[in-house]
């Protein structure tokens, strides 16, 4: 050491693994006791779980995988679902290219998962799509890396891809290449995803409009928004789903018949919009009045003030509650089973009814829970990182 003589190392007791253990796990006697009990609990519960997982009859999952993923979607048309997944992989790769570390982490994990699935299914076949997805992610990533200015276009591409997805899955009447597949054939994780994504994509703008409407100076608009929000929030989702099945057709003309899934999508969207509105309203209230005054003083109209000054600030404060709402929505889509739709959980139940898989509840429900957990965890991780990136509470 050549410079400052005052620099000395930390006291010995506080460094190293032993120091840490001593300080954090064993220092007062009751901490030591807690540590011992925890170790015993982890050992006994964890040990049993691992033992069970190793001997469980996972073939109930592997032999019904298609059902779990897409329900009764025609097997010879499943390539359409794969195409959509590949498209999403490409866009995910592109987002990873322009995004920060978090987007990269998520996208690389996704690619790694596809790679792993691909290798696992090498023996059984059907690995091509998995590897195609890995390639799509890589291509998208390389395409946009270092081109942050494309962000806007990638966002737009996601929106277009959403509508393209619905088109690819639904198909065209009397078409050889893309025959119509009624939404009653959509099921499993595919249905769970579609319901949640439709719910999220449409409830967001609707909720923002309702929140703005509630604060509107026009009494009729404010009254309508308030009534809508309060009534929907006062009713359980199951009720809304039933109402959507029975009542929505009454309001629409004969030729605009919505099928059951679209009615469920409408129900989920309308329900989520009310909660969305309340979250956004909280954000709107958090924007200081000085912001609006300064913007007005510059000559900006009410609309421009809302778009450029109020909403960006309001929405960034409410990212955590909005993501919680989305996570809740994702899980609540399981309730559509009540109106007869076969989402991931309902597929699980129907699989358990097959004679050869009777009594395999543990395997099926652990699998379903695991799938839900993975997606919810990714959402919550992404929102946590987004909050930090946007500097919530700092800017």
């Amino acid at each position: 050491m050549t410079t400052t003589a005052e620099t000395i190392g930390p006291p010995r007791t506080s460094v190293g693994a032993l120091g840490w253990l001593k300080r954090n796990l064993f220092s007062p006697w009751y901490n030591a006791l807690l540590s011992l009990i925890s170790v015993w609990l982890i050992y006994s519960v964890g040990g049993q779980t691992v033992q069970w997982a190793l001997t469980a009859r996972w073939e109930v999952i592997t032999s019904n995988l298609r059902l779990f993923m897409v329900g009764s979607f025609p097997p010879d048309q499943v390539w359409r679902v794969w195409l959509v997944v590949t498209l999403a992989s490409l866009l995910a790769g592109m987002s990873g290219g322009i995004g920060g570390r978090t987007a990269r982490n998520i996208v690389f994990s996704l690619a790694a998962s596809f790679g792993l699935f691909g290798v696992l299914s090498l023996a059984g076949g059907g690995y091509e799509w998995h590897f195609a997805n890995v390639l799509a992610i890589g291509a998208g990533y390389l395409l946009t890396r270092g081109r942050a200015q494309w962000g806007r276009w990638v966002a737009l591409a996601w929106l277009l891809a959403f509508f393209l997805t619905l088109f690819i899955l639904y198909g065209i009447e009397k078409n050889e290449w893309l025959p119509l597949i009624g939404t009653d054939r959509w099921g499993g994780l595919l249905l769970t995803f579609l319901l949640s994504i439709v719910g999220i994509v449409f409830s967001f703008p609707l909720g923002v409009l309702l929140a703005l409407g509630r604060r509107s100076r026009m009494p009729m608009i404010s009254l309508f928004s308030t009534l809508y929000i309060e009534i929907v929030r006062g009713v359980p989702l199951v009720t809304v789903l039933f109402i959507a099945q029975i009542m929505v057709p009454l309001f629409l003309p004969e030729e605009m018949r919505l099928d059951r899934i679209m009615r469920a999508m409408a129900g989920v969207t309308l329900f989520a919009a009310a909660y969305m509105a309340e979250n956004v309203r909280g954000g709107l209230q958090a924007v200081p009045s000085g912001q609006v005054e300064a913007a007005h003083a510059l000559g900006l109209s009410d609309t421009l003030v809302t778009v450029f000054i109020v909403l960006p600030q309001a929405l960034r404060v409410v990212i955590p509650p909005i993501v919680s709402l989305f996570i809740g929505l994702f899980k609540d889509t399981t309730l559509v089973a009540i109106v007869g739709l076969l989402d991931l959980l309902a597929v699980g139940k129907s699989v358990l009814a097959q004679p050869e898989f009777l009594g395999l509840q543990k395997e099926v429900y652990v699998f379903v829970a695991g799938v839900f957990f993975i997606f919810c965890y990714v959402m919550s991780y992404a929102s946590y990182r987004l909050e930090i990136a946007l500097g919530v509470g700092k800017r």
């Binding site: 005054e293 300064a294 003083a297 510059l298 000559g299 450029f308 500097g391 800017r395």
Partner: protein
């Protein structure tokens, strides 16, 4: 202190302006005419209605009796009039009120692009020039929270000037600043005053008033009690209340 030409036109005309907050009578018949290029300092005790008064001029507060005419346009409920007047008036607040989610450059160029409808290039050029003028060209791509108070207030002045207004309103622009930062803001305001801008400044910086104000206006309890040149006000105030107040703030 430069003098303003006698033949300068009247750019702000307030006649018998009244304002109530619910039952509270805050402005009690203000009469004031400001000439183009004039620098006015408004001072008076806290709660006397100074902020409320200058905020009625760009309609952040609505007056309930009397008339206000700015640059030939009367302030009425007509939204187009309000917009026309606001684009001609810049305002600087005590608490800066910069937009925290936008960079300094975006803060300044937003209104020129969306209200004046100037191109992004033009708006950003103007913003860059103004940042040079207020002495912080190197901060263009930072966010407001990364700047000191004095720097933020100078950005706020640049943001108001970017609209190329005819009138600038200042509501206690240095009251929220640490002492060592007051001067950097006052320097910018002094330069602006010398450039011929019409300015209405609510401030208790008497050195600034003495150096650049053409006229000083004393407010008390919602009324305009006294006005005159800095010399008249400092050396020979006519009203007892003005004397009292000055002796308090000048020690």
């Amino acid at each position: 202190m430069s003098s303003i030409a006698k033949e300068s036109k009247d750019i702000i005309i307030c006649q018998d302006v009244h304002k109530w907050f619910d039952r509270l009578h805050v402005l009690k018949g203000i009469n004031l005419t400001v000439k183009q290029g004039e620098v006015l300092v408004i001072f008076g005790p806290s709660g006397s209605g100074k902020s409320t008064f200058i905020r009625t001029i760009n309609r952040l507060e609505e007056h309930q009796r009397g008339t206000i005419i700015v640059d030939g346009i009367e302030l009425t409920h007509d939204v187009r009039n309000i917009h026309a007047i606001r684009t001609e008036i810049g305002m600087v607040f005590q608490s800066f009120n910069l937009f925290p989610h936008l960079t300094v450059l975006q803060n300044i160029s937003l209104a020129p692009m969306w209200v004046r409808k100037w191109s992004r290039d033009k708006a950003e050029q103007i913003a860059t020039d103004l940042l040079k003028r207020v002495g912080i060209p190197e901060q263009a791509h930072k966010y407001p929270a990364q700047l000191s108070g004095g720097q933020q207030q100078r950005v706020a002045i640049a943001r108001a000037l970017a609209m190329q207004p005819k009138i600038m309103l200042f509501d206690e622009p240095t009251s929220a600043l640490d002492p060592e930062m007051i001067k950097e803001v006052l320097d910018v305001m002094t330069e602006l005053a010398k450039s011929g801008m019409t300015m209405l400044c609510v401030t208790h910086e008497m050195g600034f008033a003495n150096a650049v104000a053409h006229r000083m206006v004393f407010f008390d309890q919602g009324q305009l009690i006294e006005q005159g040149t800095p010399q008249q006000i400092f050396e020979n105030p006519q009203q007892e209340r003005t004397k009292m107040f000055l002796s308090q703030i000048l020690h």
